[in-house]
């Protein structure tokens, strides 16, 4: 008997079930199909501007930096300024996201843009988040050629573009959008919920930023 | 679940084994407090112990037998009151669980549980007492015993009554909600561990600067008093009922006639 059959048989024996019970099967199928929220905290239930403000407050509370620009056309300049202020090189790596490609990069001719996944030698990475979650200041990034996951983790500084329209109050709203985008029951290889730059408190419970992931997380909210 | 108590509730006093054996003063203080709140009190002769030592040592058969005899002795009363959060918690929370699979005894256990209270919680939560007529000149601090605190929700009640005692200064204890390391048989089975825990407690007690340590459970008090004495500290230890009843003539816990 396979390990699978042994374990499933033990589970069923312990529960006193066969696995064929119609009521149980339909209860499970229903729950999986409906994906109903349980309890959503009031905190995130705000209008668009309220969500942007809360997102910013929560993200800054976990040591991310946040700036807001009026339009996507302002992003290259914002990036160039951030890199200058942080004494970072004027070069970054980004994926094939059309939202990044369509930006007026010619406004900042000194910026160097590298494409594709990161191999660990990039100082700065740029990604587009598919959503933000106001209740905890969390970014939602998905893998793929548009935004390779390595860019989220290998560079020292991670800059993330986020449309203000995509800031949801809670995670549940994001899951629903993902189902619409990727299909029910499906998910991209990696979905990263990122809440601040990486950190560790493993040495005497002292919180230090910049463990294995980025030391700095800069979020540019657009719109 | 708040009910209006009868005008002169008939209370069965569950003395608890430690009070019975080690510190009768606490029992008499409880009687005084209850009588002042116009209760009629009975002390059923059939009581010995609530059965926790057996229950917590895995001896369920003996624990059940003891539970049944306690129920038999105490179910006639309007209320069962014990000067201990631990023992009251045993009657109130654990008897129904212990007898859950017994169709005959479970309802009886549940009925009694609904009428069982720790002393201070009974005075305040059930009888609505908000002040006592007592005097105690000096500073005290209060340790929240675990069962009373977490099983029965006793935290503000004793402090409220203590604030009504003339002359008494209540100093807060750091980590008052942290266990003292008693734990019934734990303190002798794991003596080193228990000691490490109570050491921290006595340091906090000393830091409070209070002259007297109060608590609602004699087991915890004997543990803390025993450690305070071993460390040569001057802090006195008493059951909270003694101070609330104004009955502090007896030597403090662990002190003799010569002190």
């Amino acid at each position: 008997m396979s390990g699978r059959d042994v374990v499933l048989r033990k589970v069923r024996r312990a529960l006193g079930v066969t696995g064929e019970e119609a009521a149980r099967r339909s209860a499970v199928a229903e729950r999986l199909k409906k994906s109903e929220p349980n309890i959503i905290p009031e905190r995130g239930k705000r209008d668009r501007e309220g969500r942007v403000a809360l997102f910013r407050e929560m993200a800054e509370a976990v040591s991310a930096t946040v700036e807001r620009v009026a339009a996507s056309d302002d992003v290259p300049t914002a990036i160039a300024r951030y890199l200058r202020e942080q004494n970072l090189p004027a070069a970054f790596r980004a994926g094939a996201d059309p939202a990044i490609g369509a930006l007026p990069w010619d406004r900042e001719p000194n910026l160097t843009r590298l494409s594709g996944a990161s191999d660990g030698r990039d100082t700065v990475g740029l990604s587009c988040a598919i959503a933000g979650v106001a209740e905890s200041g969390t970014l939602v990034l998905v893998s793929g050629p548009d935004n390779p996951t390595t860019i989220n983790f290998l560079p020292d500084a991670h800059i993330v573009m986020l449309s203000a329209d995509d800031i949801a109050g809670d995670y549940e709203t994001v899951w629903q959008r993902m189902r619409e985008r990727f299909g029910a029951g499906k998910a991209p290889r990696t979905v990263n919920l990122v809440t601040g730059p990486s950190r560790s408190a493993d040495i005497e419970q002292t919180l230090i930023l910049g463990a294995h992931g980025p030391r700095a997380l800069h979020i540019i909210v657009v719109g | 679940m708040k009910r209006t108590p009868p005008q002169h509730p008939h209370v069965g006093l569950f003395v608890t084994c430690l009070v019975d054996l080690f510190r009768p003063s606490v029992g008499f203080a409880a009687i005084k407090l209850l009588e002042e709140a116009s209760c009629t009190i009975d002390v059923p002769a059939a009581q010995t112990c609530c059965g926790q030592p057996a229950y917590n040592s895995g001896d369920r058969a003996d624990a059940r037998a003891i539970a049944k005899s306690v129920i038999e002795a105490f179910e006639p009363y309007d209320y069962v009151v014990a000067p201990s959060g631990s023992c009251a918690g045993m009657l109130k929370k654990h008897y129904p669980a212990l007898l859950a699979d017994d169709a005959q005894w479970r309802p009886r256990a549940e009925r009694m549980a609904a009428h069982t209270f720790e002393l201070v919680s009974f005075l305040t939560d059930v009888l609505g007492v908000t002040a006592v007529a007592a005097r105690h000149d000096g500073s005290v601090t209060y340790h929240d015993s675990c069962s009373g605190l977490r099983e029965l929700g006793i935290q503000t009640q004793p402090r409220q009554l203590l604030r009504s005692v003339d002359g008494l200064e209540l100093l807060e204890l750091k980590n008052a909600d942290v266990c003292c390391g008693f734990g019934g048989t734990f303190c002798v089975k794991y003596s080193d561990l228990s000691n490490a825990i109570v050491e921290r407690k006595t340091a906090d007690i000393a830091e409070s600067g209070a002259e007297t340590l109060l608590a609602g459970d004699l087991g915890c008090l004997m543990n803390m008093a025993g450690k305070l004495k071993r460390e040569g500290r001057a802090t006195k230890s008493r059951h909270v009922a003694e101070v609330l009843a104004g009955m502090t003539d007896a030597p403090a816990i662990g002190e003799g006639v010569s002190e």
């Binding site: 109903e36 294995h212 | 010995t48 057996a54 403090a252």
Partner: protein
């Protein structure tokens, strides 16, 4: 793993005498507790979330067979592989086979208590595969040849100067005169050393906080980002998780996520919550080519449907140990089994057998603080008591203790005899102790008097004094 739970009392003695350990434990006693309290207070729905989370897990557990099936179907659809392991040995074999097939020489690892439970590292090493722990805490203890002393802060027993000494001892390729005086420089050094290992690894192994049936997704929660580098850089990602990690939907996982970090570290959310579904997709520029999930039983199905089922709700936040006076006193290694603290005192006997671990469920004052902070409302003291019942039934507790309890119960069930015996004894003790009011030594009371005085009884028992008073009153009226 080196199971020493059968020497629990000796372990306690050693831990109490260990000054370094005692120094390190001061951080547990303050930081975790304050941070959790602050985070919980800031979320008004916390209590309601606890109830909802409990309902999620209870539902998942009573339908576990069906959710496992749904989960593995989704994993297969996304191109991944599910392996079931009935025992720790099965899990080790499955993982070693995957590594061998891949010709793997080094394996990076995210923090996984399941990997500790099945003693994976020793097995891999013994078969020529080098495991590299990448969580900073796990890395530190791997250098020290130790096991975790805490389920979320594995190196909580180690002080900063000890870490510095370990780094200097092991990282001999770095300049001897480098400055490691600050935690930041220690972290930076670990980051640099491990970055190379991440990039060179053939296989990455992580645990899972959740397995989501709806999508066939495994979720891990970390702060450092090591779990992510572990799974996206090597060619193969292996997830090792126990059966009870299953939740039905992303919404259900979310409900528990809102409790997890708050209960653990006092964060609203950990920095990285990562959802992994299958291997990289055809046009993905990064991510693993293979994705395997090893689902472990190892004693858990024997808890299902019993008085221990509630324990399977545990989400490994560590709040119980962070609030435990026993853990505070001795730290995690004294328990001598994979899982320390209250959750371990319930879980270890189920995994490693009650005989070898019977001290663990006993070493509790039942103060109940663990249960009061458990986000999943697991009645930990109650379940420790259930283990004590089993121990008593099977006669595993020391005979003198068993007979002591039985003798005492014999008396307690006979009030008249009890009264006579205790009355005589208290009178004698009262007379002996009346002068000083306490005993420093007493025959048969060494467990008490080793560390504290025993307050002397007042002399007369309450029952006899009360009867005498009542009779007196009767005569007067």
């Amino acid at each position: 793993m080196n199971l020493t739970a059968d020497r629990f009392k000796d372990n306690v003695r050693v831990a109490l005498d260990d000054d370094q350990l005692q120094r390190a434990l001061t951080h547990v006693r303050s930081n975790f507790i304050e941070r959790r309290a602050k985070a919980v207070d800031a979320l008004p729905e916390f209590e309601a979330l606890r109830e909802a989370a409990r309902a999620v897990k209870d539902h998942a557990l009573t339908h576990l067979d069906l959710y496992l099936e749904a989960y593995e179907t989704r994993v297969a659809e996304s191109g991944g592989h599910v392996h079931y392991a009935e025992t720790a040995a099965d899990a080790r074999d499955v993982i070693l086979n995957i590594c061998r097939k891949a010709g793997a020489r080094t394996v990076t690892k995210g923090k996984s208590m399941i990997a500790e439970e099945v003693d994976l590292n020793n097995h891999l090493e013994a078969h020529g595969v080098e495991p590299v722990e990448t969580d900073l805490g796990e890395y530190i203890i791997q250098l020290r040849g130790e096991v975790p002393s805490h389920i979320i802060a594995p190196a909580v027993h180690v002080n900063q100067d000890q870490v510095e000494a370990d780094f200097r001892r092991v990282h001999t390729h770095l300049a001897a005169e480098r400055d490691l005086a600050e935690p930041t420089s220690l972290l930076a050094e670990a980051r640099g050393v491990l970055r190379d290992r991440f990039l060179a690894a053939d296989v990455g192994i992580t645990g899972a906080n959740f397995l989501v049936a709806e999508t066939g997704t495994s979720i891990i929660v970390t702060n450092e980002g090591n779990g992510d580098l572990t799974q996206i850089l090597p060619r193969i990602h292996i997830v090792i998780a126990s059966i009870e990690k299953i939740v039905p939907t992303l919404e259900d996982a979310t409900t528990i996520l809102r409790l997890l970090a708050r209960s653990a570290t006092g964060q609203d959310m950990s920095v990285y919550t990562t959802l992994s579904t299958g291997p990289r997709r055809p046009d993905d520029p990064d991510g693993p080519d293979e994705y395997h999930v090893v689902i472990l039983d190892n004693g858990r199905t024997a808890m299902l449907g019993t008085e221990f089922q509630d324990m399977l709700r545990c989400i490994r936040c560590g709040a119980c140990m962070n609030h435990c006076p026993v853990y505070h006193a001795v730290g995690g290694h004294a328990y001598g089994a994979t899982y320390p603290g209250p959750m371990g005192q319930v879980l270890d006997p189920a995994i490693f057998g009650l005989k070898a671990t019977h001290d663990l469920p006993n070493a509790s004052t039942f103060c109940g603080r663990c249960e009061s902070v458990c986000p999943m409302k697991i009645p930990l003291p109650k379940m420790m008591r259930h283990w004590r019942d089993k121990e008593f039934e099977r006669g595993l507790s020391p005979a003198p203790q068993r007979w002591g309890i039985r003798a005492w119960a014999f008396l307690a069930r006979r009030p008249a005899l009890y009264r006579l015996a205790t009355g005589l004894m208290m009178r004698a003790l009262g007379n002996l102790g009346s002068d000083r009011g306490r005993f420093q030594m007493l025959p048969f009371a060494g467990g008490w008097t080793a560390h504290r005085d025993l307050p002397a009884p007042e002399g007369r028992t309450f029952m006899s004094a009360y009867r005498a008073k009542a009779q007196n009153k009767g005569r007067k009226t």
